[in-house]
Amino acid sequence: MSVQGKLTLLCDAKTDGSFLVHHFLSFYLKANCKVCLVALIQSFSHYNIVGQKLGVSLTAARERGQLVVLEGLKSGVDVFFRPREEPHPLQFLREANAGDLQPLYAFVRDALQPVDSGEAAWRCPVLLVDDLSVLLSLGVGPVAVLDFVHYCRATVCQEWKGNVVCLVHDSGDTEDEESDVLLNGLSHQSHLILRAEGLATGFCKDVHGQLRILWRRPLQPTTHRDRSLTYQYKIQDKSVSFFAKGMSPAVL
């Protein structure tokens, strides 16, 4: 796979960008990569059922060791109501001033550590986080989240030549300073930004939104400017169809 060691930022504004997470999850699983999914906002079975529609079986992947999932909701209940001494990736839920995400990073590192086994290993490791904005709601500061992403990038991208994909919500005009800090910080660090936006003219049944793709730090040093492309999309039951602006089949 040519794209390695990259941070891909998924961002949504005024719409739900989770379809991108499902896409990347199924994409990397089909590409035989080792994936660590930090699922903070939905349960595992949600990803599993959507994954089946997209053609991958998450339970099978988990059983054969290709997929490691941290279920934020389920583990969160554990750590909240039955606290224990040893560090837990989500122990910031119990703390009054959520410090840093060091235990979470340790979990990711242990999950994606390349094992030296005789059999054919998986391809590059991939970290998928859905989503980072909820960490802000749980009391973690934006700087701590940026540190976490930095650590993950240093280990997963630089050291192990893997990829990191995270989803962040763009808070728009709600004057959410923490969210803006997080989004700006991540935008500068990332190589590829996929931004799902609602249409400026409002709700439409046939075009669910617009996807802006922005390549930063282009691979060839000769291209100076960042490339960007815009597509409009419609989400269907088992896939998402993309088309150029104004070229929706409903319009033509």
Partner: protein, 444 residues
């Protein structure tokens, strides 16, 4: 290394059972998680619970909100395991109605209830629930059932034939196994229905002891106690599937009133930069976690019009699944707007969750208005049916719809339809009644 991400020591009974269930994939707990889709092969083992039905689109287990009209716009009902957030209207007149409908539906369907309030004793809240509209002859049957007598002659069954379907369960007679009922809000729910129902109440002033323990996590003590109470009930009553011996599965309906108000000890409604700014969002996250792993559905009402920090409102919305906003016309300029003279307010469906799916059931119609009649709370697709087109356009040109100017500041995220009305002409906005033929009828 197929680790599920939970702690290594699986000594907790629920955790290990859950882990075993998810890895084995053959389990009576297939329905434990509310995400069991109808596509599973274990469908035949699934027991149907009274008062629920499966979504047509993705097999999601749904419960009724108590208002069949609202169920329609929420994609068939409220999904089990999710949170319905009601953004209260300004004077908190109509949101308690939706709250009461939800609880009344629970009693009628035989679900267990958990009512939490900081303002009113849950026992009093239950007394004020609306009475279900049921056949009078059936009511007599129900009384006999409660006494444990056998059903009388078949004559009654012939008259009230549709009630032949309701299951005869020991101890807890269910009024009806149907989905979604009509209620008469001018009457109170019969006392015997409350007595036969299983409910748990959480009244904050009783639970908060005089000594304020400083909690280690950043939740206010009220929220902390409520979460522990909910978790206790779920665990002890077996709603999370921790007790496989319990034959009859049931839904737990949780209702929390005025969450986020200062009565709960939270100050997000008081100041823009508050101390416990993460208290409510953390509470919602843990609540969501508890719901996702149990057979329960929750309704919360939040006075979002009091929250000054728009970022908090956006976060609260993101952490809830279904969000419905109520906007009443009392005291606003819309009260005198002739377009709205028949209605009492607007209902904004702000968010519908995508569960187990890439897409969701979104209704085409976004203009919803509600009207509180003497006995019913009705939701209609807002359109002035009586006015003629010419006068309508004249009015619109003269007084542009107040919606354009008054931005409803509930969400940082603007309702996309509001923008649609701004950029397109008003005529386009009023095309909506004509494009939905046959759907634009009032739900009474």
């Amino acid at each position: 290394m197929a680790v599920a991400g939970t702690s290594g020591t699986g000594t907790r009974s629920t955790g290990s059972m859950v882990a075993a269930a998810s890895t084995n994939n053959v389990t009576s707990f297939q329905r434990r998680g509310p995400r069991a889709s109808g596509a599973d092969s274990g469908c035949s083992r699934l027991v149907s619970i009274a008062g629920t039905r499966r979504s047509v689109r993705n097999g999601q287990l749904l419960v009724s909100t108590g208002l069949p009209a609202l169920d329609q716009f929420l994609g068939g009902g409220l999904a089990v395991g999710t949170v319905l957030l009601i953004e209260e209207d300004k004077y908190n007149i109509y949101s308690p109605l939706l709250f009461n409908y939800f609880l009344a539906e629970g009693i009628v369907s035989g679900h267990a209830l958990l009512v939490a309030s900081a303002k009113e004793d849950p026992a009093d809240i239950l007394q004020k629930l609306p009475a279900p509209l049921i056949d009078h002859s059936y009511k007599k049957e129900c009384d006999e059932d409660i006494c444990g007598h056998k059903m009388e002659s078949d004559i009654k069954m012939k008259i009230a034939w549709r009630y032949q379907l309701f299951p005869k369960m020991e101890g807890r007679p269910v009024l009806s196994s149907g989905f979604g009922h009509d209620y008469d809000i001018s009457k109170r729910i019969p006392q015997e229905l409350i007595e036969t129902s299983k409910w748990h109440g959480f009244f904050l002033p009783e639970k908060i002891s005089s000594t304020f323990n400083v909690e280690s996590c950043s939740l206010t003590s009220g929220y902390m106690k409520l979460l522990q109470f909910i978790q206790n009930i779920i665990y002890e009553e077996g709603f999370d599937g921790s007790n496989p011996q319990k034959k009859q599965k049931n839904i737990l309906r949780i209702g929390i009133q005025n969450l986020g108000s200062p009565l709960w000890g939270d100050d997000i409604c008081c100041a823009e930069n508050c101390d416990a700014s993460h208290s409510l969002t953390k509470f919602l996250y843990i609540l969501r976690a508890l719901l996702r792993t149990s057979l329960s559905a929750c309704i919360i009402t939040v006075p979002t019009h009091l929250i000054q920090n728009k970022a908090v409102i956006a976060r609260v919305t993101n952490l809830s699944d279904t969000v419905v906003g109520l906007e009443s016309f009392i005291g606003s300029e819309k009260e005198t707007n002739p377009l709205y003279k028949d209605y009492h307010g607007l209902i904004h469906i702000r968010q519908i969750p995508r569960l187990n799916n890439l897409i969701y059931d979104i209704s085409d119609v976004k203009d919803l208005a509600f009207k509180l009649k003497k006995k019913l709370f009705t939701i209609e697709i807002g359109s002035p049916i009586s006015s003629s087109l010419a006068s309508l356009i004249a009015q619109l040109v003269k007084n542009p719809p107040a919606m354009r100017k008054t931005s409803v500041p509930f969400l940082g995220r603007e309702d996309p339809l509001e923008k649609a009305k701004v950029t397109h002409s008003s005529i386009l906005a009023w095309r909506i009644p004509w494009t939905v033929h046959g759907v634009a009828k009032s739900w009474t």
